[in-house]
Symmetry: C2
Subunit: 354 residues, 2 copies
């Protein structure tokens, strides 16, 4: 896997596609995200991608993200000016200048949006993230496992309303920020988990931007066969080949939730499966058999084009390949499973690694 060192309009495409794969169905349509990020990158210098080791221990790294239901986020993509306001709110709270931007998740829109902030502010972006994928709730980051607090956190909406938080736990930050996200119309721009480079070096899931860049290029090159290459290269498993037979989808409580019913095709003919999602896919079941659960990734690829399929883009009749990808090893400790495993999401199922 080749490391990326800068991002412009051209290689942003691969990042957006790879981000949609690790988005595990969540995080919004990467095409929309890419088109909008392109607008900013057209007028700005390429964004430098750096390794966290290149920063001094006391330098400040600021994650930037969009919070809310992807269904809503797609309608309210940032203009770019929000970031200037967000970063200045955080610098005021932290009493320190920011040295680099970070993606809190290497999936969905949140793998491209921070490039808008970085381009706009002329800051580099760190190669890595705090999930190694996308997760639906804000406490679900490697930083939480390292005892790093989500606050001080800043949040703004598209109308210009701003809020900051200082909470007693990352679960409380999620609860309070989610309630405001709903009031703000279902999505908001946030900056949270301000970290020193020292802490970031310890708890970052490294090279995930290079990874999604690589994944995106595999998809571009191998189209409908990409899922097979990725299964092999990333030690994943081909779980199902199917047509979408039903999609239930509701946006509420600040999330997009739903269920997808799949009817097997090809080698899977005569079988059926079901996927549940809360922004991201949480569990894949064939009857009573669990095929895969969070924190492992459940990724859908259009069987004809090979492109990743988000929960927004799923529709009746679409032929898909379902791939299970192992999560980053950090998510497999007992503590991590408590934070992001199936029981947290109320499934009475033990997590079994893919």
């Amino acid at each position: 896997m080749q490391k990326i060192i800068s991002v412009d309009k051209d290689n942003l495409e691969a990042i957006a596609i790879g981000g949609a794969v690790l988005g595990s169905g969540g995080g919004g349509d990467p095409y929309v995200g890419r088109l909008m990020t392109n607008q900013i990158l057209e007028k700005a210098e390429p964004v430098k991608v750096i390794e966290v080791e290149s920063l001094n221990d006391d330098e400040l790294i600021l994650p930037i993200a969009m919070m809310g239901a992807p269904t809503v986020m797609m309608e309210k993509f940032p203009s770019g000016n929000e970031f200037t306001q967000l970063v200045s709110m955080m610098e005021k709270l932290m009493q320190k200048k920011v040295s680099a931007i970070l993606c809190i998740e290497a999936g969905g829109l949140n793998s491209t949006i921070p490039f808008v902030a970085a381009a706009k502010l002329g800051l580099p972006i760190v190669d890595g993230d705090a999930m190694g994928r996308a997760f639906p709730e804000l406490q679900m980051v490697s930083f939480t496992l390292g005892g790093i607090t989500a606050t001080p956190m800043a949040m703004i909406d598209d109308k210009g309303n701003g809020a900051t938080f200082d909470t007693i736990s990352n679960q409380w930050t999620e609860k309070l920020a989610r309630a405001l996200t709903i009031q703000m119309g279902g999505s908001a721009m946030v900056s949270l988990y301000p970290v020193t480079a020292k802490d970031c070096k310890k708890y970052l899931i490294k090279n995930s931007l290079s990874l999604i860049h690589y994944i995106g290029n595999v998809v571009k090159e191998h189209s409908f066969n990409a899922y097979q290459i990725l299964a092999k290269e990333l030690h994943g498993k081909h779980l199902f080949q199917a047509r979408v037979r039903d999609v239930e989808r509701t946006a509420g409580e600040g999330f997009t939730r739903g269920v997808v019913k799949l009817e097997g095709i090809g080698d899977f003919i005569g079988r059926s499966a079901k996927l549940d999602f809360q922004n991201e896919f949480l569990i894949a079941m064939e009857g009573e058999t669990v095929l895969a659960t969070t924190p492992d990734l459940i990724c859908l690829f259009d069987a004809n084009t090979g492109e990743p399929v988000t929960t927004e883009a799923m529709k009746y009749g679409l032929a898909v390949n379902v791939l299970g990808l192992p999560c980053d090893p950090i998510w497999r400790s007992k503590e991590a499973i408590d934070l992001v495993g199936p029981k947290y999401f109320k499934y009475d199922v033990e997590y079994k690694p893919l």
Copy 2:
């Protein structure tokens, strides 16, 4: 009416009783508030009550209040330490030291709670408020009419979670802060509408602490006849004498809402009336006839003891006198009626001053 110049355990009693009268049914039980405020005042110097004119124009005045459903507030009275945190959050946001504390409303618990803050911090309290009564929503203050913004605003809960706001309008502050109040368990301590003495001199409803102190003393002295004295002295109207026949009460969306049904006694025998409340009483109706509506005050007095009756204390069989009191003249402009009149609360009724 005599001006009060300091508040200790002794005259806090009259303030709490008078505050319950102008609380117009809302704002929580004054006895509980007084007992708890007493605990603080026992260990502190009396709180100096000052006129806003005694401050220099550029000095900072900080309103302190409890936000939420009175039903919940009663269970979570402050320890006193929250205020130190709140004031320090606000001083950081304002980059300025606070010179005096202010009651945002001269009704209910919020007419006594700021004394806890003032005593704890050794600060004086300004004789006045921004409502001349209690209202249920935070944008319903004379400051809004003067174009003064509610933010920067700070908010903390009993667990130690804190948030700050910077919004585009006072209605947005209400919306966002209310959502957090609900997540924080139904009530929170807040500081908002930080004002310079210059602005405060313009938009303050003056002497309202002296007024509730006076009202409280009338109640103490004249017991069950107090409502008659107050009707005369404050140009009010005796609207009804009745027994409570039914009380519906729900706490939700950050408010206590309900309806009280009254059956006439004494001169009102054979007649019936209905009072609606959202924290405070909003409207009194006899059949289709409107007896009084917000912004005028609808105040209940126990017919036997003369004590003011809050919506929490209402119960089947209680004999009450219902008094209508004219609101401060500031609430009678068209702009003010839009902000706090019956139509805002979805009553299809024109406001007719008492």
